[in-house]
Amino acid sequence: MSEIKIRKRNRLQSVSLPAEIIINLLVGGFALLCILPFIFVIIISFSSEESIRLIGYSFRPLEWSTAAYKFVFDMGSQLWISYFNSFFVSTVGTLISLLMCVLYAYALFRKDFKYRKFFTFFVFFTMLFGGGLAPTYMVCKQMLGLSDNYAALIVPALVNPFFIIIMRTFLQTSVPTELIEAASIDGSGEYNTLFRIIIPISKPGIATVALLTVINYWNDWFLAMLYIREPKFYPLQYLLMKAQNQADFLIKNSSVIGVEATKLLRDLPGTSLRMSLVVFIVVPIACAYPFFQRYIISGLTIGSVKG
């Protein structure tokens, strides 16, 4: 059985040697383009500030140094607090967000749902039109009290219309309605159908959305900038963003702030330090990817309806 499969695939997918070389080169080059910036960041994070000052960013710095990493570790509790915050917000946020996304998308997917059209439009509309920053801010901060707490980092990003549409489309293309009919004939209730039948066969879609959501939460600094003023709630990305913003702002306004700006700028973390923080931020999320990948590949090959 498996032998046949392999032979079949080989015949179908075989290409001529030159074509294979070209394709490999193209794809390899593309992969290199993707990975190079990150390698560059790692190299810069290990360059000495002196070298950056003299020759700028380079793949071959004049001098290597681990000073930036030492500084990060010496920075003390803030780094670890922020690390914890990022992990906490990403995990809790993703779980709740996924649940809402699946529930919403499933309802939109069911053709027998009466208000399907309205709710599809409802979610689609917010993709196109937003209320603007100031009203959003007012609602979140003053009505919902999302200020200086973890909820402020989680709730505003909880429902993402784009992910709901992805999820709904995924369900439409991969879950046959016969399956639901079969389940109900066998006496399965609505919740049972959703959680024991639909969700297990939708793992690829869910994993994709989960990955997107995790990245969304992990990379978010904007919510923290808007709603968080206490350092103990800062996520990791915001630490990084803040220092970058400070440097940019001081450079931009150095002529009005005057002499002081130069001094203030010098007190900010150096480039290699920022790059080392980038490494700290990227590594965990890069490690999370293979975990999701498992579902994406295995899920799709399993059929659910035979005949």
Partner: protein
């Protein structure tokens, strides 16, 4: 098919996340603040009542104050003392919001637009909650409103302490008429551009500082040539910030309210006596069309071609950092620098060689510099009266101001035998931005500034001349479309022209045509119309 879709999706994801990483080169905010040299003050910090004994109001209120540029991680010790004191004086609890350079702009604007219950905001001419704009749009309380004159009622002491030019600079046309919408901070309020001279290097080639003082930009050539020849190809004797250099050489200044457009508009001051009218009178010009500008660009081009100017200075991405590094390491002969009192001493110490500042004009006060740091009361504040009382106390009471800015004596700083404040390591956890807090002359001087620092300071800044159009702010509302288009054009040409990276005889006409096409004349006319009505209202 699904597999392909999933693969594409995931590829997109990885790409997206990588791209995110590439960009997000920000860094931690946990910067190591270089401990500022502390200093002592001659005036002993006293805990006496301010001059007007305010009766302690009966009801207790909490005031929130949104500040800029802070670097504060632990304010418990300070706030405890501050609030003890404020409770006793005004029956007030203070809750500062320590905005930083990175988040203040966005945070304060949203907070204002969201009508949050923050009472006092830092504001000025260069942050996003720009003073003139937000006063016009009704976000700030008019403090000298005839119906409810807060300054008259609670803030008289401030007026006595601040130089008159400051009040003049902050009196503007706002939502409630022509008046004061914020309390000025008393900081380095005057502008003075200087040649920043590396004296050690100058002496090495047999020149003295007098040679620089006697010369001007157009006659630096010989000195530059000699130093360039002696120091080699990789040495660039002129270390310039393009736009600043142009202003120094041509005596043009920024027009307030124009910061969004790359400072297209220019007013020309009188380099001998800044309170008099300049060569063009009280007119705003398109400076790029003047003969001075052509002459300046040609000279700069010549210096550039001879290798006196680092090509990096024409690269907006690198110019600032490269310049800062070269200043620090002394790889320059003559630089451009906006001056603040005592900077040559500080710079000499920091850079490890003798630095001299040669001014090109006397110190002057213009609208931008007089609006450099202010405190406005929000119209959303529930207790504007109490906020004004607090601002009055903050700006007049040395004990309160020192406590809020330097921290607690014995914890964050100590006074040495001549009364200068010497900071401790604790100060790293509590560093508000001094100039953003208010009347800095109430502080003890920092170590090394000398006991009589503030006297010198007041003499220098208090006596600075005002330019004839002080208080004028351009309102770009009527020409906002032209403005945006012109800003793009200017971004393309100004820096290369002012650093000599391109040929002016070819590029200036091209530049001018583009400006003309995008409505430069309309903007200049509008500015002059506003200026003449402003001057008429001033009785000039």
């Amino acid at each position: 098919m699904k597999k392909v879709l999933a693969t594409i999706l995931t590829c997109g994801l990885i790409l997206g996340s990588l791209a995110g990483c590439g960009k997000g080169t920000g860094s931690t905010s946990a910067s190591t603040p270089a401990s500022t040299p502390a200093s002592g003050s001659s005036s002993t910090v006293t805990n006496t009542d301010s001059k007007t004994p305010t009766d302690r109001p009966a009801d207790h209120v909490t005031l929130k104050m949104y500040l800029e540029g802070s670097n504060v991680t632990d304010d418990t010790a300070v706030l405890q003392k501050v609030n003890e004191y404020l409770d006793e004086k005004l029956n007030v609890t203070l809750q500062p919001i320590w905005g930083t350079w990175g988040d203040f702009d966005q945070g304060a604007v949203l907070s204002l637009q969201g009508a949050e219950d923050v009472d006092i905001y830092f504001t000025c001419s260069w942050t996003l909650n720009e003073y003139n704009q937000f006063a016009r749009d009704g976000y700030y309380v008019r403090l000298d409103n005839p119906d409810n004159n807060l300054i008259e009622k609670y803030g008289k002491d401030i007026l006595n302490l601040l130089p008159e030019v400051l009040i003049k600079g902050s009196t503007i046309e706002g939502a409630d008429g022509y008046g004061i919408y914020a309390v000025n901070g008393y900081k380095d309020i005057a502008c003075q551009n200087c040649w920043d001279v590396n004296v050690d290097l100058l002496k090495k080639y047999g020149y003295t500082i007098e040679d620089i003082e006697k010369a001007d930009y157009y006659s630096f050539g010989d000195i530059l040539a000699k130093v360039k020849a002696g120091e080699g190809d990789n040495f660039y004797p002129l270390l310039i910030e393009g736009a600043v250099l142009e202003r120094m050489v041509d005596n043009s200044i920024i027009v307030a309210g124009d910061s969004g457009s790359n400072n297209l508009l220019s007013y020309y001051i009188n380099p001998k006596k800044t309170s008099d009218q300049g060569a063009y009178g009280n007119k705003i010009l398109n400076k790029f069309a003047t003969d001075e500008f052509m002459k300046f660009c040609k000279q700069t081009r010549e210096y550039y071609l001879k290798g006196y100017i680092d090509p990096d200075m024409a690269n907006p991405e690198k110019a600032n950092t490269v310049r800062a590094d070269k200043q620090l390491t002394g790889q320059y002969l003559i630089g451009t620098q906006s001056y603040s009192l005592g900077y040559e001493i500080q710079a000499s110490k920091e850079r490890g060689f003798e630095v001299a500042m040669v001014p090109t004009t006397p110190a002057y006060v213009d609208t931008t510099s007089s609006q450099g740091a202010m405190m406005a009361i929000s119209t959303a504040s529930k207790n504007p009266d109490r906020a004004m009382m607090f601002l009055n106390l903050l700006n007049t009471d040395p004990y309160l101001f020192t406590l809020l800015d330097y921290g607690v004596e014995g914890i964050h700083y100590n006074l040495n035998n001549i009364g200068e404040a010497v900071f401790t390591a604790e100060r790293d956890n509590y560093m508000p931005w001094t100039n953003g807090l208010g009347n800095v002359t109430l502080l003890p001087p920092q170590e090394g500034q000398g006991a009589d620092f503030w006297d010198t300071f007041k003499a220098y800044y208090g006596n600075a001349d005002e330019i004839p159009i002080l208080g004028f702010t351009f309102n770009s509302e009527n020409v906002s479309n032209e403005f945006a288009a012109l800003a793009n054009v200017a971004a393309e040409y100004v820096l290369p022209l002012c650093t000599g990276a391109v040929d002016p005889t070819e590029k200036i006409p091209e530049f001018l045509t583009k400006l003309e096409k995008n409505g430069m004349q309309k903007v200049v006319d509008e500015a002059n119309k506003q200026l003449s009505s402003f001057l008429a209202s001033q009785g000039k």
